[in-house]
Symmetry: none
Subunit: 216 residues, 4 copies
DNA sequence: CATGAATGAGGATTCATTCAT
DNA sequence: TATGAATGAATCCTCATTCAT
């Protein structure tokens, strides 16, 4: 029963992503989502409080997965460089492999609507915190000089977000993933990242390990 | 006559900025803008094609001014560092001194609506081009290594935009202008900016000049 | 379900006839029709595409019934005289017994609006064809000399229509039905109708039969 | 001055006929009429009370001319046949030579609007009276049996009107004037018109005179 | 007389949401 | 749980008319 519930919940969420990506949140009627999900209009309201709630829960659910998967990958990273690389790579490839979701995230979720913004804030602040932790850790590990963590986070998230929006709007014909290395290089410069091998040149085993991660 | 026309055009635009910033574009009735501007509802439509057209022309007009003023200031800059500083400083202080406009720009203009996006694209691409020109010039002047100009622009604009949105949403209690120096430091690192005095250490007079500019 | 649907469709149509006859099509708000029909405003749009569509479907529906009932009565007529009488009598009595509909038909449906005219044309041409068939048949049966069928139809329909409009506008205090016999006499003269008894004076049984029909 | 006044009055009227015929009364903005007439919007209101007043005065003016010209021609007619012929011929050829006016008369003037109808009624009743007089005179001169004058007028006007509307709507490819003779034949039959030569076969001079008129 | 910029009333329609079944 | 027919709130825009010049 609960499984069936979740089945329908996710079916509606998936239908919503496609429908909203296709026609936009306002243009997309609840009845279209219902049709795509194979349920009656009224059934939507057994799982979601409102149309807006679909958008919010959609973001919370997918963004939660996204952050969890980054956190998981970060576990295996030894260096700040590797951590940054993980963030950039995961951000770009996740978006590139979920274009409909990216459209919703980059365009439709930018609703000037207060309640949407507030609800979105939660997962977004989680992501911000994650980025800030990586920077903070870099500072503590002395890979990064004492910089303004808040502003650095703005830079990192803002850059990733802008690149993703550019790609969604097809402002350039490039793939999103082709931006990983150049973006990473900028971040490393911005953070004055001292690479492991630069100061740890006598512990080549660490370096190798890290290289492996970096190239994966 | 034409003067009066322009007077009314701008009065409506100013009224729209306040009204939209206060209640949001969709929630804000045309009659509210008319009331604020001190004209009849119908008069709006002598100057604008539609409610949406107000939003579009608003952005085009104010963003045009903004870009023109940056371009003007850039004329007087001798170094890439000074140019970057001009961009960051002008961006942040313009927004901080026009909070209602910033709200409209950062929140209301992010309409997922296609025709709005298309109309907004023009001035936005102008701004992108301006940033890219600064970077390109830096490369040509060998102040900046050969980097990916497109991605660097994404970083710079994305960072400024995210910082502005953070400030508008009051995600932090900081002023926007307090972010100028830290953000600039990040950009300089990202671009591996070779400062004038580093390689021109024998022409200290230039350095002083540039410093003066930077502190203005 | 479908029965309820039809029930509501007709209730809206009846409400529309009353409301439009009372205040005119343009003056009559959709919400007034909804109120009269006992449904919500939005419900109207489950059954009709637009306010104009109500007017069109109204004519198609009622004019369809009207033509069908004439066609049905014509089946039992043996002579052209009887057929003409059926047309005149049915036209006048139908209108006289449905004054609101007549008002809509004679006044409101004369919208100079193209899409209304086009939609109305269908049933109207049906009626024209019906009249022309009666005349043509009269010619073939040699009750009527070879006249211009098209012009004869114009005369018959034009006369009936004008008389109905006169009555609707109360240009005379007469009842519409009091015009049946005089109008019929004119038509018979116009068509030089050779009455049955004139050339069939030796088959009085036919005459009687036809008289019976004519007076029914 | 008064001449100039009339000049402008008529220019506006002519502009209105073209504009209304082209786009319909409701679709045709006052400013379009003003542009066509070469005057400012406000000037219209120096000559007409309202937009509706244009329509009304237009009909009164042109219909007045039309009726006057028929009355004038009727003066020279000796027989009812000649008079009927004059009415049919003048009606059809006037309309055929003034198509824009015909469009306005047959379509746009059929406004379900009460004040328009009332104002139109005047000239229309004049025309009705004119027709009725011809019939009445026919009865008095014993060219026509004692028939219902009111209904006969309905038939005559209704037929002419319907034929004109058919032509305006291009329901048939025929010219309007090709309907003169067939229509006249129908009217003569309807009125049981005793032609002069039938009962005056001993006064051939009258007959000749009338023939001449009839063929003109 | 002439202008034309300014006025402001007025209503069809959509679609998220409900609730009887 | 699931349905889907019914609900009804909420607003942009047009354009005839005015009146200061």
């Amino acid at each position: 029963m609960s499984l069936q519930r979740e089945g329908k919940f996710d079916r509606i969420l998936d239908a919503a992503i496609e429908a909203i990506a296709e026609s936009g949140f306002h243009q997309c009627q609840v009845s279209k989502i219902a049709r795509l999900a194979g349920v009656a209009d009224g059934t939507i309201y057994l799982y979601f409080k409102s149309k807006e709630d679909i958008l919010i829960r959609l973001f919370q659910s997918r963004m939660g997965e996204f952050i969890a998967s980054i956190r998981n990958e970060l576990e295996h990273c030894q260096t700040t460089e590797a951590r940054l690389r993980t963030i950039v790579r995961t951000h770009f490839s996740y978006m590139e492999h979920n274009r409909s979701l990216a459209i919703v995230t980059q365009l439709e979720l930018r609703q000037p609507n207060l309640s949407v913004r507030l609800a979105i804030n939660g997962p977004l602040l989680d992501y911000f915190r994650l980025i800030e932790e990586v920077i903070q850790q870099g500072i503590e590990r002395e890979e990064v000089p004492k910089i303004d963590v808040w502003v650095a986070r703005q830079m990192i998230f803002g850059s990733l977000d802008e690149a993703t929006t550019d790609w969604v709007l097809a402002r350039s014909p490039r793939t999103l993933e082709s931006g990983i290395e150049p973006m990473l290089a900028l971040f490393e410069g911005a953070l004055r990242l001292r690479k492991e091998y630069e100061y740890n040149r006598f512990t080549p085993e660490e370096k190798r390990e890290e290289d492996g991660n970096a190239n994966s």
